[in-house]
């Protein structure tokens, strides 16, 4: 009883299960991957050399980062516009709209990727309608290409981008915007000089977070890429699961992990909007 009454002790006691859980399920396997990534022959870094010196692997990493950037940019831009729209909605409508974008969270990535097929597939709704209307005479390849992977990933990550932006936008003190207006600023000037600086960092960190998640996506590229878009997570699956090449697969994982960590560190550095208020 006494232990629990001290706030520091109770904090430790309450967090212990979570810390233990994370250590067992996250830290230990991660260390395992790091250990696997170092080879015995011919030298410690041979797996890394193999990955970095392979044009194929580097191309795959490059493609993964490129698609990640495109997904992050488009998703964040759309989420930004969406959040602006929600910000100006009447209060009673906001929970409804937010519920609508949170709902897909409860549907698995696989199902969400597969559900594009009846719409955009060769036999899908769009192709069948266009064929029936005589606009085309052969079905268009609407999925099974990099664009479909971008579309599918952006679709899945939209709520992930929208929620932090919504939170940041609603934290902006509306009186500042009203003050700007009363001092004669136009809507555009208010947006550019007052609103944007207040949400800029949150937007940037959202962008980087979406990028980090997008580059780790596995199911969506697999289903919507038609096997033709080989991204790093799929290559890791191929190496480790299909072929049992733990060394090169682990080295590739570690390289990707470092890229994620670097982007998350960047996001952190750019700060969250709560801490920077005081300075300016």
């Amino acid at each position: 009883m006494k232990m629990l009454s001290s706030p520091a002790a109770s904090r430790i006691a309450l967090n212990a299960p979570l810390v233990l859980f994370l250590a067992l399920t996250l830290v230990v396997p991660l260390l395992g991957i790091v250990v696997f990534s170092f080879g015995a022959e011919p030298h410690l870094f041979s797996n890394y050399v193999q990955v970095v010196s392979s044009r194929t692997y580097m191309r795959v990493i490059g493609m993964t980062l490129l698609l990640g950037v495109i997904v992050a940019a488009t998703t964040t831009a759309l989420a930004f516009l969406f959040s602006l729209w929600v910000l100006n909605l009447p209060k009673r409508w906001k929970p409804v709209v937010i519920a609508c974008i949170v709902m897909p969270f409860f549907i698995s990535y696989l199902v969400r990727a597969l559900s594009w097929m009846p719409v955009l597939g060769f036999n899908g709704l769009v192709n069948r309608s266009l064929l029936a209307m005589g606009v085309i005479d052969a079905p268009l390849t609407l999925i099974y290409n990099p664009l479909a992977v971008v579309l599918g990933t952006a679709n899945v990550l939209f709520p992930v981008a929208a929620l932090p932006l919504l939170a940041a936008f609603h934290k902006v003190d509306k009186r500042l915007l009203e003050a700007a207006k009363s001092l004669g600023a136009s809507r555009w000037t208010t947006f550019k000089r007052i609103f944007l600086p207040l949400v800029g960092r949150a937007t940037l960190s959202t962008l980087i977070m979406v990028f980090a998640i997008a580059t780790g996506f596995y199911i969506t590229p697999s289903v919507l890429g038609g096997g033709k878009v080989l991204l790093a997570p799929n290559l890791i699956e191929l190496l480790i699961h299909r072929r049992g090449e733990w060394g090169s697969g682990a080295a590739l994982s570690v390289i990707l992990l470092l890229i994620f960590l670097a982007s998350i560190a960047l996001a952190k550095r750019l700060g969250n909007p709560r801490q920077r208020r005081v300075a300016r």
Partner: protein, 346 residues
């Protein structure tokens, strides 16, 4: 969002722990020959194994059989041997696994197995044939039937979309060479350069490269593609999809035994293997799955319809091309690397 994540994390945690605990308990309860533990990849094939062979084996010996899941035989077997505790006795393997890592597997005692007549390729020093499957061509009900791999790549006479396997060159190099006109009896050693050149020249005819057998079946059944290279068992019993064993690349899947297993468990495994060679038991297996076993007596028990759709019937054996596991064992590493390059440039 926080709540969702936490709930998910908690759920994952509890099931992971439950799993860990039950497997610890299971391995503790385990003792020699009190049960036979078989690691296999599951699905309908696992169900067939259970009904057709485990049931008569347990009825005769009183030894229960337990099936555990398997992702990669070599990886898990190596890990198990390193841990020093043998908790799985029999493994679902490809012959290439056994040929490339013979030290992981025990010699079989063929005298103890005392097999009924089975095809010679099923009798290996360290492995016993379990069932045949085949990489075959299949087509959607609305597409024009094809009969050769040349037709499969002939988009002029057989227009339509195609699907092939994304993750492996295995069997697909053979397919490419057959399509390019190499006679079946001159396939090995494979002309790898020619096979890749053919695939490179024809890759644009293939719209989808599938990641799993179920995806392949779904693609060709729904008409998303018109023609698919596919595992025979995925379509053999299908009413909506056409297929032929002609020029199918036939693979025999094997079972093998953990190296260093105790004598009682090994004896039990040999008795289990005997059941796999009995034609009547194999007949039972094909009720569950369209992969048939290596018994020479099975064909006589089949109906005409079954002979048409099962890979090891006399008529279908005659038209397929058996894969050369020895060749693949020797060349696999280099080809895997090349396949990754090919795939990254699709």
């Amino acid at each position: 969002m926080t709540i969702t994540r936490r709930t998910v994390v908690k759920l994952l945690g509890s099931s992971a722990f439950a799993g860990a605990i039950s497997s610890t308990l299971a391995s503790r309860a385990f003792s020699a020959a009190s049960e036979l533990v078989i690691a296999q990849s599951g699905g309908q094939a696992g169900e067939a194994l259970e009904k057709a062979y485990a049931a008569p084996f347990t009825a005769k010996t009183g030894i229960p059989v337990r099936f555990v899941g398997l992702e990669s035989a070599l990886g898990e077997l190596k890990a198990m041997l390193q841990s020093g505790t043998i908790d799985r006795h029999v493994w679902d393997v490809e012959l290439a696994d056994v040929l490339s890592q013979p030290d992981l597997f025990e010699d079989l005692d063929w005298d103890a197995i005392a097999p009924d007549p089975i095809f010679p390729e099923a009798k290996q020093p360290k492995a016993i044939g379990r069932h045949y499957y085949s990489y075959v061509m299949s087509w959607n009900g609305k597409a024009k039937p094809i009969s050769t791999w040349k037709d499969f790549f002939d988009t002029e006479n057989f227009p339509g979309r195609r699907a092939m396997m994304s993750y492996d060159a295995y069997a697909q190099l053979e397919v490419a060479l057959l399509a390019d006109g190499v006679p079946a009896d001159k396939l090995y050693p494979l002309d790898v350069d020619r096979a890749f050149a053919f695939l490179e020249a024809n890759k644009d005819k293939v719209q989808v490269w599938w990641d799993s057998g179920s995806q392949a079946a779904e693609l060709v059944t729904s008409g998303e593609v018109d023609y698919a290279l596919i595992y025979s068992g995925r379509v053999a019993y299908s009413k909506d999809v056409g297929m032929t064993y002609n020029q199918g690349i036939s693979v025999l899947n094997y079972l093998a035994v953990t190296k260093g297993i105790d004598a009682d468990s090994k004896a039990a495994a040999m008795k289990f293997f005997h059941e796999m060679t009995v034609a009547e038991n194999e007949l039972k297996a094909v009720e569950t799955i369209a992969y048939s076993g290596p018994s020479e007596g099975l064909d006589a028990l089949l109906t005409d319809d079954q002979r048409k759709v099962l890979p090891s019937s006399v008529q279908n054996r005659a038209v397929q091309v058996p894969i050369n596991s020895q060749w693949w064992t020797e060349n696999r590493a280099a080809i895997d690397k090349r396949w990754t390059e090919f795939r990254a440039n699709l």
